[in-house]
Symmetry: C2
Subunit: 240 residues, 2 copies
DNA sequence: GCGCGGTTTCCGGAAAATGGAAGCTCTTAG
DNA sequence: CTAAGAGCTTCCATTTTCCGGAAACCGCGC
């Protein structure tokens, strides 16, 4: 079964980039012998590799495949220079993210020099309802997705996290009409983020950029202009 | 069987980031119904995704996994700022690569503004024997790998490509003692590249940086100093 | 020598993959 | 308006392959 192999691969995450066979078997919840055989096959193909120390790691082949993901490089690479500009100008955290299902996935992140520490990581995931990028992506997601998110349970991170579906709907409408989102202390009590949508050639929203700053350090609207400008520049570059 | 699924994934490459079911079946050489079922499973897990147009693409989940590859982010992310410096200073092409088996895999690439067009691509592969990065990586590879490469057939790209094993051995020895490599018109007749090794904490060579410039535009040794400095800085950053 | 944690190999029963064929859908042609 | 065709999806009997318990194996420290 192919699912088991994927289950094994799923045992790897940011905190566990190297795993022993037994750890893998434990984390993927399957007998050692099974894990062994599957890992062996994956190894042969180059999906994972084994160091001299016996630890398994994700292989280059998989990295290579991953870098073919449509949102991966095409987006990431064209956006990178603009993100850097934004980072240079503001000296704040810059984030680039896409939506997958009902979650945000962070595709690139540039840490500003004197900036708030941000808890997200490249490749990491987060709820759509709290962050600046998340709100943008949710606002432009298909209705089914919006309903699923707003209908389900909404995680609370701080006392200011908006968890009321009706209020969220109003925020999303505002995001659509303003062209940017503001997440004010909704993730941590010291951070505020401003996000803006990136469109593809057909006008579809495919990603979002955001700036994350310390709460109270600047007025959101000044940032919004910057972020929107940058997002538009990226959109234009993507269509070229 | 797990091999078949990997075979299907292998059907994707830089020129074929989006494939229809029938193309996949054809490229992976298997019946349509089998391909269909496997792709369906892979889709469910998020390894691949299907656009509204019915085309399959590599999914975000796989990108995420790939970005956990040990050489992927750890190396890439710490190296990136240095590569950018190098690119800003020289305005030339900067490349970062690792070795896999008997090939070079390009991990990052920054195109210089007025630079020679380079044929390599992030995620792309190349022979170890011709490029600047390749020579560095080969020079510091385990003996078995060197023998395999030097014993096998050596691809020729231009009239100046070195294909004589004895001469290559001498070049590799020079790379080891000099601490940098020069590939002069060995890949294309207008390009010259200078590479230097990146070490990990234990002194193992884990990657290589190179500058690719137009042949005749600068003296290689001036570049060599820059590239070595940068490589050492990256090595130091990696150990920190 | 012995026990211990982790790894590798084996093999018969069980379960899941296989792929031919038929049905579906959409587009193009007559 | 019907027909042909290309590509996609579903079905299901066959058979191949995977599964995983058990046992051997391998350092390593006591």
């Amino acid at each position: 079964m192919i699912g088991r192999a994927l289950q094994l691969l799923g045992a790897f995450d940011a905190e566990h980039r190297e795993l022993t066979l037994s750890e893998l078997a434990r984390r993927a919840d399957m007998p050692l012998s099974t894990a062994h055989r599957l890992m062996h096959e994956l190894c042969e193909w180059g999906a994972v590799e084994r160091g001299g120390d016996g630890l398994y790691r994700i292989g280059l082949r998989l990295w290579e495949l991953g870098s073919l993901a449509p949102r991966g490089p095409g987006l990431r690479e064209t956006a990178l220079p603009f993100l850097e500009d934004l980072s240079l100008i503001t000296r704040e955290n810059v984030q680039l993210a896409v939506r997958e299902g009902t979650e945000v996935v962070f595709v690139e992140r540039i840490a500003g020099s004197g900036a708030v520490p941000v808890l997200t990581r490249v490749g990491g995931r987060f709820a759509l309802t709290a962050t600046g990028v998340g709100l943008v992506l949710l606002a432009h997601a298909p209705v089914e997705v919006q309903e699923e998110v707003l209908g389900g349970s909404i995680d609370r991170y701080t006392e200011r996290t908006v968890t009321d579906p009706a209020q969220l709907r109003r925020m999303l409408a505002a995001v659509r009409s303003n062209g940017f989102s503001i997440s004010d202390r909704q993730v941590t009590m010291d951070a505020l983020s401003v996000g803006a949508p990136i469109h593809d050639r057909r006008g579809q929203v495919v990603a979002a950029v955001s700036l994350v700053v310390r709460h109270g350090s600047t007025t959101p609207h000044a940032l919004a202009r910057l972020v929107r400008t940058s997002a538009q520049a990226i959109s234009r570059a993507l269509s070229a």
